[in-house]
Symmetry: C2
DNA sequence: CAAATAAAAGAGTTCTTTGTCTTTTTTTCC
DNA sequence: GGAAAAAAAGACAAAGAACTCTTTTATTTG
């Protein structure tokens, strides 16, 4: 479904959102532990997201990662698109070069609905909203 | 969603079903052309499916691939499970080691429905039924 | 300013997937 | 039985994804 990088990215951003509601910052080691991901790998991914403005960071002592309001308003769809591109939103289920209504593959009509459900799931809630639910209900970012 | 191997496999099996309704057989080169896949790659995949009894083959002149009735009755889910395993049917959207109802990830409740839709799409129709529709309506296996 | 801290950057490594090429085996058909 | 046809098998190559390690840069704080 998603690439490993994308899975880690989503988990990391939700984790950061959750841990920095109080305006603090959180370091890469804690993040890696918190979401059970390889430290240097998630560091690379966050570097990338940082360059693209989807997460904020500060170097030096008492530095770390955090999220601007604008980043909190981003949807998971934005994250997925940034990392995996939009194949999941518009690609053909059977790998035809172009999904097409006029030359549909055998799964097209059914798959179209599924893609819409996925889009809806990723588009509806923002990082901020998710992290609120993370606090309230019992949701998990690692096992 | 699916691996390349799995995409090619589905397309190939549907193509074979379609081309051998009359009891004939079809060669690997035609299959590769018919579904626009690398010839030797799809050959490997069909070898594999053949060993597992999901497609039938015969060597020598006038040989080729075809499908027993039992193979025609297989669902796409069977094919996907054979090649990609069952991660798509039961894996966690965010890559947690185990999808779990009691320790759900933030996407779990929504994603569960989507997984069910995917299962349904793959489980419902058999290869044979798909290939009938391929003939009747205008469906495509390459672009 | 110096030392310490933390992210950024860069350069690899390893593993998996995808794809190619060559040889072998089986079967048919003359 | 020999030639030709076709899949099976095996070994390899290329690309991409996932992951690691080292060095650099920026920032803080005493
Ligand atoms: S053509 Fe395959 S999903 Fe649209
Ligand atoms: S726990 Fe992630 S999908 Fe079920």
């Amino acid at each position: 479904m998603f690439s490993k990088a994308c899975e880690y990215a989503i988990r990391a951003l939700l984790f950061i959102a959750q841990k920095t509601v109080d305006g603090s910052k959180i370091g890469i080691k804690e993040i890696a532990k918190g979401i059970d991901s390889p430290e240097h790998f998630i560091a690379k991914i966050l570097q990338d997201l940082s360059r693209k403005g989807m997460v904020q960071s500060q170097k030096g002592p008492s530095g770390g990662f955090y999220l601007h309001q604008s980043s909190l308003n981003a949807s998971l769809a934005d994250v997925v698109r940034t990392i995996d591109g939009d194949s999941i939103f518009s690609g053909c289920a059977l790998g035809l070069k172009q999904c097409s209504e006029v030359k549909p593959c055998p799964l097209h009509h059914e798959f179209k609905k599924i893609r819409e459900n996925i889009s809806h799931m990723l588009q509806t809630a923002s990082l901020g909203e998710f992290s609120q639910q993370l606090e309230k209900s019992k949701l998990f970012l690692k096992r």
